[in-house]
């Protein structure tokens, strides 16, 4: 890892972002045909990553990268093993198809360029996510996928549903991201390792760490939100507000699998524990069942597919958590299969919507003749989804049952869950793939057909892939499945399943599934009605829960803010001074910094006492003044008294200034008050008076105690001695105070006069700038206006 060599991988990882920069311009030039140009980027990425296949198949792990933030020990480093390579290939391969498909689907959209830009950025983020070695780089890309998907879901920003779905996705996945961040940082803290590759190699027993549960929960928080596990699944179907290419790409093939990727990635270090093998299957299984049941209820093809995506993710999580080697293999196979068939089916749904004008399976039908290629792709993908040979889905299904089956309560339960889930997915796959094409022809739009090549190329290629990968399963396993399973399992694994059925338990279970599926398919309308009734009876779901969460948070915040920021200066002041009392009193008492009992009061001569008494009288008179002028004049009294005190204690300059300032204060008070008609005294209720009195007395006592405590210390007068010594000899001034002001500490005075000047200007602007037309100023001089 120390030898950071320049590498094409680095530029490959950056290339989608660079392409995103140019996408709008290209689209302006070439219209939707820019898709062909832009698709070169993912294609090239695909090609680049496929060159790693032989090495990775041989069990090598390719790492590389650069120092990014050495100060924080964060690298821009990548890790290419079976897991990340498979993901990278899926992302770039399907990505290329999606870019093309987008060109057709959004052919005349005014913001197609922007769309390309977003989707390329997303692709780059996803690619970065799966190839990241460094934790923080991983997290950066993780959040980038949330951000870009926010933009894509809200692409159709004029509809409220889109905006809501976008925010929902951002909140759920962004919130989950924070858990993930905490989890990753905790791992970093516990192990001192911040790179996946090192973590996987280190054999540090995270599982034995006291922080294991915390890490586990935090990582799951990230994974489950991103991968839409029940009960946080709701954002994913809502994300179908995005244009269909987005749904096909993000919400089936790639982003939603980021959570699964994370679980798979960390399986070697976090797995093999009771928590892992209990929690994951429970959440996964529940999500599987709930997802399929909710899918049954839908008639919108996209939504049906979206809910089955939820269930598929549940299945993947369940398998990953199950813990056996076979289950991991099954998860790997199913993940690949799902990416292909689900991407294709979404594109099919989009194509039908685009051509026939509706995605509602009850509103379209009989399109087989007019859209033969699309139909073929749909049909093939549905076969794969249903787990029927000779498609890749079949291999996955066989392996699932092989992995789960075990004559024990827990595996049996999970097997049952898998059967029900798969059976229902079988139903939906065929509902989407058959209903629009069979039966009598009906379509709201006019002249549906396969449309431009951009529109059908994607589903067709993916359908073919489903077939080819299954037919040449040995190759697939050699290059894809085995390396990936090895990575997930953390030790060498090889996959062998092929489309030639082997007699055994998995086959029987598959047959059971198919039988269940066929029965269910025939009763799909009844099932749908039942589900609708059930959900109506429950009447509440996490989706509404989201609205309630947002509203509740806003309302709570509003109430809290009203309490802490009530808008009344009086309360602010009161709080401030209570804080003051606390800030001084509490530490003084707690840390025993109270002063010693003061000695006998310092000697005061008669007139000193008199002056101080006058000051006090002036103060009290300010308090109790019946009218404003008395208060002002009393203010003058205490000011004069202070000036006299200064004089008595050897501070003529202070006294001088204090006299001047105090008088001027009183003068401007009088000048200003001239125009005000105010109630002079404030009427506080007895209780309020008491509280205010207590606050002020406590604060004052605090200050007095602290002052006593300070003055009881020996004093270091070296500064003043210095000033006294050099005031005349070097600074040529006999008045030490003035010399301090203009020489020793002239910079203070410099700032001080700036204050005076600014205060003057501020007051001038306060007086002069008035919104209401000012009364013309009495002046005889027309040039006066100029001067102001």
């Amino acid at each position: 890892m120390n030898a950071y060599m320049p590498s094409t991988t680095f530029f490959v990882l950056l290339s989608p972002f660079i392409a995103a920069l140019f996408a709008p311009a290209l689209t302006r030039l070439f219209k939707h045909n820019a898709a062909w140009l832009l698709a070169i980027v993912p294609a090239a990425i695909f090609w680049h990553f496929s060159t790693f296949l032989p090495d990775v198949a041989n069990g090598e792990v390719v790492t590389g990268g650069y120092q990014w933030i050495p100060a924080f020990r964060v690298n821009f480093s990548w890790l290419i093993d079976g897991l990340s390579l498979t993901f990278a290939l899926l992302i770039s391969g399907i990505g290329a198809l999606i870019v093309l498909y987008s060109g057709g689907y959004l052919k005349s959209h005014p913001h197609l360029g922007r769309f390309f830009s977003f989707i390329l950025m997303f692709m780059g983020s996803m690619l970065g996510l799966v190839t990241s070695d460094s934790f923080l780089m991983f997290f950066v890309f993780w959040e980038l996928t949330s951000i870009t998907s926010f933009l894509l879901i809200g692409f159709d920003h004029k509809r409220e549903a889109s905006r809501r779905a976008a925010l929902q996705a951002l909140v759920v996945t962004g919130g989950g991201g924070l858990f993930l961040l905490a989890g990753l940082l905790l791992i970093w803290n516990v192990t001192g390792i911040s790179e996946m590759s090192l973590l996987l190699r280190s054999h540090t027993a995270l599982a034995d760490s006291p922080f294991y549960i915390a890490i586990f929960v935090l990582v799951l928080g990230g994974a489950f939100t991103k991968s839409a596990q029940f009960p946080l699944h709701f954002w994913l179907p809502n994300a179908m507000e995005a244009p269909t290419p987005v749904s096909a790409y993000l919400h089936s093939a790639t982003m939603v699998k980021a959570g699964v990727y994370l679980l798979m990635r960390l399986n070697p270090v976090l797995g093999d524990t009771v928590a892992w093998e209990t929690v994951l299957p429970i959440f996964g299984g529940t999500t599987l069942i709930v997802g399929t049941l909710l899918a049954i209820r839908q008639t919108d093809m996209k939504l049906m597919l979206a809910y089955t995506t939820v269930s598929s993710l549940g299945l993947l999580v369940m398998l990953t958590g199950f813990g056996s080697e076979k289950a991991v293999e099954a998860a790997v196979l199913y993940l690949v299969a799902h990416s292909m068939f689900k991407g294709a089916l979404f594109m099919v749904a989009g194509a039908i919507d685009h051509e026939a004008g509706s995605r509602d399976i009850t509103k379209v039908g009989g399109l087989m003749a007019s859209m033969p290629i699309i139909f073929a792709a749909a049909f093939a993908s549905a076969f794969s989804m249903a787990g029927l040979p000779p498609f890749f889905g079949f291999l996955a299904k066989e392996e699932i049952y092989a992995g789960l089956w075990h004559v024990e309560a827990w595996p049996l339960l999970l097997t049952l869950v898998a059967i029900v889930g798969n059976g229902l997915m079988f139903v939906i796959g065929f509902a989407v793939a058959l209903k629009p094409f069979l039966g009598e022809k009906k379509a709201p739009g006019d002249h549906p057909h396969d449309g431009p090549v951009l529109l059908w190329l994607g589903p067709a290629v993916l359908a073919i892939c489903s077939l080819v990968t299954a037919l040449f399963s040995e190759l697939t396993h050699h290059y894809i499945s085995s390396p990936m399973s090895t990575a997930v399992e953390g030790e060498a694994v090889s996959v062998h399943i092929s489309i030639i059925p082997h007699i055994g338990m998995p086959l029987y279970l598959s047959l059971v599934t198919i039988a269940f599926g066929v029965v269910a398919y025939r009763n799909v309308d009844r099932l749908r009605a039942a589900m609708t009734r059930l959900l109506d009876a429950i009447g509440w779901g996490p989706d509404q829960g989201f609205d309630q969460f947002i509203r509740g948070t806003v309302r709570l915040s509003f109430r809290v803010t009203q309490v802490v920021q009530p808008g009344r200066l009086e309360i602010y002041m009161k709080a401030t001074f209570i804080l003051l009392a606390i800030a001084v009193m509490v530490p003084m008492i707690v840390f025993d910094e109270l002063p010693a009992m003061p000695k006998m009061p310092e000697y005061l001569s008669l007139y000193e006492t008199a002056i101080m008494a006058i000051a006090a009288v002036g103060l009290l008179s300010v308090l109790y003044a019946k009218d404003r002028l008395t208060a002002i004049v009393s203010l003058g009294i205490q000011g004069f008294a202070v000036a006299l005190i200064f004089m008595l204690f050897g501070a003529p300059d202070l006294s001088f200034t204090q006299f001047m300032v105090e008088t001027l204060s009183v003068v401007i008070l009088a000048l200003v008050m001239t125009r005000l008609k105010l109630t002079p005294t404030d009427h506080r209720s007895v209780g309020k008076t008491a509280i205010d009195l207590i606050i002020s007395v406590v604060c004052a006592t605090a200050f007095v105690l602290l002052l006593l405590s300070v003055t009881q210390l020996p004093f270091d007068a070296s500064l003043s001695d210095f000033f006294t010594r050099y005031s005349l000899s070097i600074a040529h001034g006999a008045n030490i105070v003035n010399v301090i002001l203009v020489d020793f500490r002239g910079t203070d005075t410099w700032g001080e006069i700036a204050v005076v000047m600014v205060a003057g200007l501020a007051i001038l602007s306060l007086i002069r700038i008035r919104l209401r037309p000012a009364v013309p100023i009495a002046t005889n001089d027309p040039s006066e206006e100029e001067r102001r």
Binding site: R164, L167, I550, V554, R555, F558, G567, L569, E570, M573, K574, E602, M612, L619, L623, A631, I632, Q638, G639, I645, L648, G650, A651, P652, D653, L654, V661, L664, S665, I668, R675, L676, L678, D682, D692, I695, S696, C699, A700, F703, V704, L707, T711, F723, T724, R725, S727, L728, N735, I736, V737, I740, L741, D748, E752, V755, A759, I763, L766, I767
Partner: protein, 122 residues
């Protein structure tokens, strides 16, 4: 002296707790004095020996005078608090003109009483 500082603070803070701008202003003026006296006391007190040397005789001049540094600091503080006082006074005056009140309870223009809940939709 220390006690007097306390009285100054108590009165100033009590005035600050009023809901009338004008009273708070008076409080601000007194607070300034309170702080000055505090710094003055904090720098220790000396009676009646101003820190002024005799220009004719610079050598024998190193006598014990009142501590000049706190005086300089207080001078700066006086000037600053005077500037602030003047500004606040005019501000209060303008507030009275524009808002037609000096009661802070009624001064609710920046943060109105009936603040609306932000929109809850999307």
């Amino acid at each position: 002296m220390t006690l007097l500082v306390g009285v100054f603070f108590a009165v100033a803070i009590y005035l600050f707790l009023s809901k009338h701008i004008i009273r708070i202003l008076l409080g601000a003026a007194i607070l300034g004095n309170a702080v000055n006296l505090l710094i003055f006391t904090s720098g220790r007190l000396t009676r009646e020996v101003p820190p002024i040397l005799s220009p004719d005789d610079p050598v024998s001049n190193v006598v014990i005078t009142a501590n000049p540094l706190p005086q300089a600091l207080i001078l700066t503080a006086i000037v600053i608090s005077f500037s602030f006082f003047a500004f606040l006074l005019v501000l209060g005056f303008r507030a009275y003109q524009e808002l037609e009140t000096d009661d802070t309870e009624e001064m609710r223009f920046a943060e109105p009483e009936d603040q609306e809940m932000p929109p809850l939709g999307y």
